[in-house]
């Protein structure tokens, strides 16, 4: 079929016509470009009259391609594509030429502008002749959702979706859901009891008919794409029969083996070899820690099995892999505390009474190892003075350059708790006090009033090397009081290091499984930092909570809910449309060299070992075209951006250069 191209050059009032002779461009295009049957200029092409004009021409002239020389395609591509569609022309046979942002607005010389406009129009015309009709693909959305991580963000997302009536699988790697929030004592700035507000949510999730809880389980594999993910979850063996156990706790009570609890108690307390991390755990099914259980290590004991009234202990249980089909995934994998041993000058791990913030949370938690009494490592002495060190592993290019966002407030909270529970003097060593959210600054004010000492200066070192008599037996915190411009040494009994928030150790690995990328710091990258902070570049995968970047509890909850709302929207609509701009491999001619295999960050290229060819998984392809450019055999094609189309565009854009050269 011979090409019948329509060219439409917009004046955009004087926005374009001011520096481009639009009439000349339209006239010239009509005369000089092969296949052009209509070439018009118009005051406002995007107006309904302008659109109507295009539609009429399509119908009357039977146009096979439309070029609109107007503004940026980012502004009006949809408008003109829709106009074409209405007139029965496939929207992908419409090409926009950016005459405004890229020509008239950046240039004041009319002759030069007109020349450039001609070249761009020529390029578009050549290109549109080679464009192919494309249809967006539609995929049904499985209404089930996978939530990874049972901290507060994941819990919120789970509840929102479950309450909306959709099935949710919640995967948590620890034996209980709850996350870090379950470890906290109070929450800033309101000083709510963390457990009091968290545990009702936990039990709601645990009892919800739409929630399938997969605790003590890890995400192994993700395949498929938006609407239809297939995920593999490894349920680690608990050695307890889930159906028989009533959670009575007698096994834990009778277990003779005590182990330091490095996870929930942050090393501050003990648990048993068969245990539930904390009394309000959900589910209340315990697990056996085989590394410490005497039956597993030495083949003796079996006390738990003997005392269990329902015969639920099963030493032969094995890890189990379950496969689930879900339509969307919400990643809410949270964070880990900065390892304070990485700053040896602060003495953590070497000086007994230097604590991490998480240790201190447990220390002042009423349910913690000291029943909430603030005492030193000896277990009895109350500190007379406490120093709180800010920015440990935050705002430091040698560890983490970012601000962890919550430590200033947590430090104020600790200060308050120490002042409330002891007679100690409290010193806070800060660089900048960061209290931007609702009622945070007020809380700072409150602590100023409560007599907490604030010293502006990053702590240089914490040492037990005394120089003066009053320093003996104390921890000396040395810093410059930057407001005085003097070095100060404050002897204290206890030091709390406000460790920064870091991505989970396996965040990157987990992210790769579902096509997420990480920022330099290791946080998951959202689709847009301002306007789309819950979606990601992988359709159907959303992020919530600290795994996307440091944030406090309210922000985590809000993001969890936001992610759930996005997922609910997808489910409610029932189908997703996938852009047809994707790559495809001509399998007939692919020789399986595998150059392309490692180039796709979305894992959209698979290699067929049997046929020895590579293949594009269309649903995963985002259409960047990197593989197209890389294929040494030229057998990968990028729809709407194929070589022929781009070559034609180059040909067109250089029409005058070619003319000059042949002259």
């Amino acid at each position: 079929m011979a090409d019948k191209i329509g060219i439409y050059v917009c004046h955009c009032g004087s926005n374009i016509a001011g520096t481009i002779d639009v009439e000349e461009v339209a006239r010239w295009a009509g005369k000089n470009i092969e296949g052009v049957v209509v070439s018009r200029d118009y005051k406002f092409m995007c107006s309904s009259l302008g659109q109507q004009m295009i539609e009429d021409d399509i119908r009357k002239e039977g146009l096979t391609g439309v070029v609109v020389g107007a503004c940026s395609p980012h502004l009006h591509e949809k408008t003109f594509r829709n106009a074409c569609k209405r007139a029965g022309l496939n929207p992908f046979l419409c090409q926009m030429t950016n005459l405004r942002e890229h020509v008239s607005w950046v240039n004041s010389d009319k002759a030069a502008g007109t020349k450039k406009a001609k070249a761009l129009i020529f390029a578009s015309a050549e290109r549109v002749k080679r464009q192919k009709p494309l249809e967006p693909m539609e995929v049904e959305v499985n209404p089930a959702t996978l939530v990874v991580g049972g901290g507060i963000a994941g819990l919120q997302a789970t509840l929102e979706l479950a309450d909306a009536g959709y099935p949710v699988y919640l995967v948590e790697r620890e034996p209980s859901i709850g996350g870090h929030m379950a470890q906290f004592d109070k929450t800033f700035p309101t000083l709510d009891c963390s457990a009091c507000i968290l545990t009702p949510k936990m039990s709601e999730v645990g009892q919800h008919e739409n929630v399938t809880l997969l605790t003590y389980s890890e995400l192994e594999e993700v395949s498929g794409s938006v609407g239809n993910f297939k995920v593999k979850i490894r349920k680690k063996a608990r050695y307890i029969d889930y159906d028989k156990c009533t959670g009575c706790g007698i096994c834990t009570e009778k277990c003779p083996r005590k182990v330091i609890d490095d996870v929930f108690e942050a090393g501050m307390g003990y648990r048993k070899a068969i245990y539930s991390p904390f009394p309000q755990a959900v589910p209340r099914i315990p697990v056996i820690d085989t590394e410490n259980c005497t039956w597993f290590t030495r083949g003796k004991c079996q006390v738990c099995s003997k005392v269990c009234p329902t015969d639920a202990v099963d030493y032969d249980q094995k890890d189990e892999t379950v496969e689930l089909n879900v339509g969307n995934i919400i990643m809410a994998t949270g964070w880990k505390l900065f390892d304070c041993k990485r700053v040896p000058q602060y003495g953590f791990g070497r000086l007994a009474n230097v604590y991490t913030s998480m240790e201190f949370e447990r220390l002042c938690n009423a349910a913690g190892p000291t029943s909430g009494k603030i005492v030193m490592r000896d277990g009895k002495t109350e500190p007379k003075s406490v120093a709180i060190v800010h920015c440990v592993g935050s705002r430091d290019v040698t560890s983490n350059p970012y601000c962890s966002g919550v430590c200033c407030m947590a430090a104020l909270k600790f200060g308050h708790l120490v002042l409330e529970k002891t007679k100690a003097e409290v010193y806070s060593f800060y660089i900048d006090m960061r209290t931007p959210m609702k009622e945070y600054e007020e809380f700072y004010q409150r602590l100023l009033g409560e007599g907490m000492h604030f010293i502006r200066g990053k702590v240089a070192e914490v040492t037990d090397a005394a120089r003066r008599p009053e320093e003996h037996g104390k921890l000396i915190v040395q810093a410059e009081d930057t407001l005085l411009g003097k070095q100060r040494r404050i002897p204290v009994d206890m030091v709390i290091l406000m460790g920064g928030l870091e991505p989970q150790a396996d965040a990157k690995e987990l992210g790769i499984k579902c096509g997420l990328s990480c920022s330099m710091a290791g946080w998951y990258t959202e689709r847009h930092p301002k306007l789309d902070p819950v979606a990601t570049m992988t359709d159907g995968v959303f992020v919530a909570g600290v795994c996307q970047g440091p944030k406090d509890i309210p922000a985590s909850v809000a993001q969890g809910a936001a992610a759930a709302a996005r997922v609910a929207g997808m489910i409610a609509k029932g189908i997703v449309t996938i852009e047809p701009i994707v790559a495809s491999i001509d399998e007939e001619n692919c020789s399986g060299c595998r150059i392309c295999n490692d180039l796709c960050p979305f894992n959209a290229i698979e290699y067929d070992e049997e046929k020895k060819v590579s293949r594009v998984i269309t649903a995963l392809c985002k259409g960047c075209g990197t593989c197209v450019a890389a294929c040494p055999a030229g057998v990968i094609t990028g729809a709407h951006f194929n070589n022929e189309q781009i070559f034609a565009e180059i040909d067109g854009i250089l029409w005058d250069a070619r003319e000059e050269a042949t002259v």
């Binding site: 000058q345 240089a460 410059e480």
Partner: protein, 189 residues
């Protein structure tokens, strides 16, 4: 970045950055004070290194070059290794020392004299000369402490730890040619 700094043309900040390899990090100072807090001589400094950086930013050139901070520096590099912004603070202190010496801005310190005596020996012999340093510099600057040094010096001497004559390297002319070229290139005598 470069354009950014160029805007401040002519400031003391720019001068210091220019004269210090890696000095461009200086603009990132958070004023956190971990340098001042870490400094073993911090207590004896008129201005902590942090204050000095603030003064550099404030273009207070005269006060910075007259400060005693540089002369209390022991080159322990704690400030540098602990700086959360990767600012080569010790090297910046060296830059300030050089500027202060070049313009004779220093006050109440013998450090420049010690440095001069020391390097003069290197220029002359190619090796340092402790006895010469002790006699030359101390006789000039600290006759009293020289006397207190007596017993220690004697002990050092008897244990063979101090020589009365300097060692001269064989190719001293070569070294001197190198030094002279360096001085010529850097525009100092």
């Amino acid at each position: 970045m470069a354009a950014h700094i160029a805007e401040k043309k002519g400031t003391f900040l720019e001068e210091v950055i220019e004269a210090t390899p890696g000095g461009e990090r200086l603009v990132h100072c958070l004023q956190c004070g971990s340098c001042g807090g870490s400094c073993p001589s911090g207590a004896d400094m008129q201005y902590t290194p942090r204050t000095l950086i603030a003064m550099i930013n404030a273009n207070d050139r005269d006060a910075v070059l007259a400060a005693n901070t540089m002369w209390a520096c022991v080159s322990c590099y704690f400030c540098t290794s602990r700086c959360p912004q990767d600012i080569p603070i010790t090297d910046i202190i060296y830059t300030l020392k050089r500027l202060s010496i070049a313009e004779k801005r220093y006050r109440d310190t013998d450090a420049p004299a010690l440095a001069k005596t020391f390097t003069d020996f290197v220029d002359r012999y190619g090796r340092s000369f402790e006895f010469g340093l002790a006699t030359g510099y101390h006789l000039l600057k600290r006759p009293i402490s020289m006397m207190k040094m007596g017993p220690m010096g004697l002990q050092m001497f008897t244990r063979g730890r101090m020589a009365l004559r300097p060692t001269k390297i064989r190719q001293i002319e070569q070294l001197q040619a190198i030094i002279n070229k360096a001085k010529e290139l850097s525009g100092s005598k």
